[in-house]
Point group: C3
Chain length 333, copies 3
């Protein structure tokens, strides 16, 4: 595996190589340790400016990126573009070029339209990280999910051959899309499950299977990833009633009984208790939901590190010191 990470941007799982995924997860594993220190801060990105440009409201993902940036000693600037600037009618390109003129080092962007981060990245010399674009991708989520599973199983190579079941509104989930792509790349076998209204026709082209019978599908799975039912958004009208949805596609202890006894339960959060996941499952020993959150922070620190860490002349200095202990050397004292 070549010791390089020469990307400017992190736009999606689709264009990442296996080697790059391995590198990101390896770096993230090192950053997990920073969160356990008494002084949770490394000086790596001192003097760097990271802009969180969120066109959709998000507490959770924005907070994760913001804490990650600050723990790397970067300056983090939050821009919530609810309606104000959009209302002003500026084009996305102009917004991008105006931000670029303030010489940021990275723009983390979430936008309701698929392809926005890609478009920004084309116009910007600085790094762009996709924090969720429409129904397209949410790559840092997939990376943290892969990290969570590989940490639990004791190594990233364990993803190879694993059986992943993704359940819910796959059609409207950028989380599902990025995970199908990511786990497949790592050699896992992905099955998606949900009512027919929530499974896009032709999803198999992404490299996954479809199974509408959750009770059957859960049996073979090593990992069950429950998607959040976006009651406030797309889900309305896609199923008869929440109770029926919970019965057929919610993960409860009844369905869990049919699963392997060491099955891993994931959920990108926030969870709807009693809807797509029952409380006893969410809080049970199979659930790695909180591990996912902690790993999210580590993955975002790793992304900042790999994309921005000592970049000069377009070539990342990060490469030089990127060994398993590289990050640990960046201590404060």
């Amino acid at each position: 595996m070549p010791d390089t990470f020469n990307r400017k941007d992190l736009l999606g799982i689709e264009d990442l190589s296996v080697e790059e995924i391995v590198k990101i997860l390896g770096s993230a594993a090192s950053f997990r340790e920073v969160a356990e220190r008494d002084i949770k801060k490394v000086p790596t990105l001192r003097g760097k400016t990271i802009i969180n440009l969120f066109y959709e409201p998000s507490t959770r993902t924005r907070t994760s990126f913001e804490i990650a940036a600050k723990r790397m000693s970067a300056d983090a600037i939050n821009i919530a573009v609810a309606s104000s600037s959009i209302k002003k009618g500026e084009t996305l390109k102009d917004t991008a070029l105006n931000l670029e003129a303030m010489s940021p080092d990275c723009i983390v962007v979430r936008h309701g339209s698929s392809g926005t981060p890609q478009m920004l990245a084309r116009y910007l010399k600085c790094s762009v990280i996709n924090a969720g674009d429409g129904l397209h991708e949410h790559p840092s989520q997939a990376l943290l999910d892969m990290l969570t599973v590989s940490n639990r199983l004791g190594g990233i190579e364990k993803l190879d051959g694993l059986r992943i079941l993704i359940v819910g509104d796959v059609a409207h989930s950028r989380v599902a899309r990025s995970n199908i792509l990511g786990f497949s790349k790592m050699g896992a076998h992905v099955t998606v499950c949900g009512p027919p209204t929530m499974i896009p026709v032709g999803i198999e082209h992404l490299g996954c299977d479809v199974n509408h019978d959750m009770t059957a599908a859960v049996k073979d799975a090593d990992v069950v990833m429950m998607l959040r039912l976006q009651l406030e958004r797309q889900a309305a009208g896609l199923f008869p009633s929440p109770r029926e949805y919970a019965k057929l596609y919610g993960l409860d202890s009844l369905k869990l009984k049919r699963a392997k006894k060491d099955v891993i339960i994931l959920h990108p959060g926030p969870i709807n208790r009693g809807l797509e996941i029952s409380p006893e499952v969410a809080d049970g020993p199979w659930s790695l939901i909180l591990e996912q959150v902690a790993n999210g922070l580590a993955v975002r620190m790793a992304l900042f590190y790999l994309l921005l860490g000592g970049v000069k002349d377009g070539i990342s200095n990060a490469n030089k010191s990127l060994n398993p202990d590289g990050v640990r050397l960046l201590n404060l004292r």
Copy 2:
């Protein structure tokens, strides 16, 4: 007095001992000096993460906690949970555990429901500070009020035997509640005053007197604390008209004439000029309203210091160095 401060959380005045209050106020007095420096920053909490989790809008209190955190060199993250995340239907416990997974050192929480900080504290390994919960408590406000009075009178022991008059909508005031508890603990005698609609039946059980005649009550008071009339919230319907309220329960120069000539006037802000307090009183020499704001910053720095300062294995290192000069030694150079 034992040299210890072994709390994880600051949830209310009710569960603080006199010794703990003395310790907080003593520490806060030291931090007052930081605000007068040219470089208003101490490195004490470098690498710590403090999250301001505000479920109610607040400019003033949030700003005070944020500045306090930054002057201690901590990373401060603001989360304003107006409607977004609540709308998403996540339980408070899940929100807590998700935040905990990002390994913050302290969560400062304001919430419209009484008991929220207590509930969070139970689930969280990190420190929780109550920045106001429903109609229950607002402990940092009471601490800054006690600090303001004791600073003016020349010592915390001067609170003993003092007569405190709290005027206004006591029934809907967490500020009143925390102050009744706090000043009483320190040996002061508290009287509450307001129209019957604003004084809860049985308030005497908290250890205070009730007097509905403000003109009479103001005579004996060493301290008059005027509460803000929450016109935009609870106050509507509790009194006939603002003019009548101002006449009966507003503090104006007429009523002030009956007070002791060195009476201390407090108000938690923001003030309604001409309603609960007249301009000449608010701006007069008896008023310590702006001192309260400055002391608020110092109290919040002290709370961060005592709760987070070098905590290891659940035992605070802060204890070791907590002497009157302890804080001053934490200079930048």
Copy 3:
């Protein structure tokens, strides 16, 4: 030119002397270089607290001030006073004094009412920077515009005798007002242009000419500054239709053909493509719109430096070291 900058506040271009403008622009030119460093941070304002107090929504200007503050190592606190605190009925004076009690070093204020920063400055011991007040002034914008022109032309003395054309809704533009005052002070000759509904009667008293025929006016101009048409605000009703406005007062390649071949195009942003400026002009080589943004950051860093840099006893230390290389000496290592 005396080597002094003894102002507490930056409230408007109107009360700045030519020497002060020269000093600010000279300092800003030095700060441009910080944005091109690998570590974009100087320790100059470490331990200083800068509050961005925005009563009007603003992504762009607030972000510029926030990044400027953080690159100077100051603590930046954002307060967006949409409706919350105003609703609470606190007077501006009380807001000012309450903020002052938290001992900030500078308050950057934007407000919909003209004169607000001036009023705040009178009550506050700390510095106040006007980030836009009503229809009155937006001095940092005019300073960055002057810096942009003088940088392009190779020296601030080149502003003398220059012909500036300002086109658009001059009547509702604080940007126009500050620029008329600023460029005139530096010896330039300013002409304003727009439909009669958008040019205030008597504007000539500010020292500028009026020309309602843009096609004619553009011929002599060395600089054409297009104002943003505030469609969402004042502009409604002031002209028959966007199409007609664009035809008569929009800067397109047709009108540009009549201009000097080295004309400079400015726009404060955000631009309405195809309305007041056509895409080929906005993106063409004459346009310095993105230079304006970059210079905005530098001007704001310079303002913080000159107003706050090492102030002691009301006398600025900044004076001592203010030579062309002064800023460069403030390196991190």
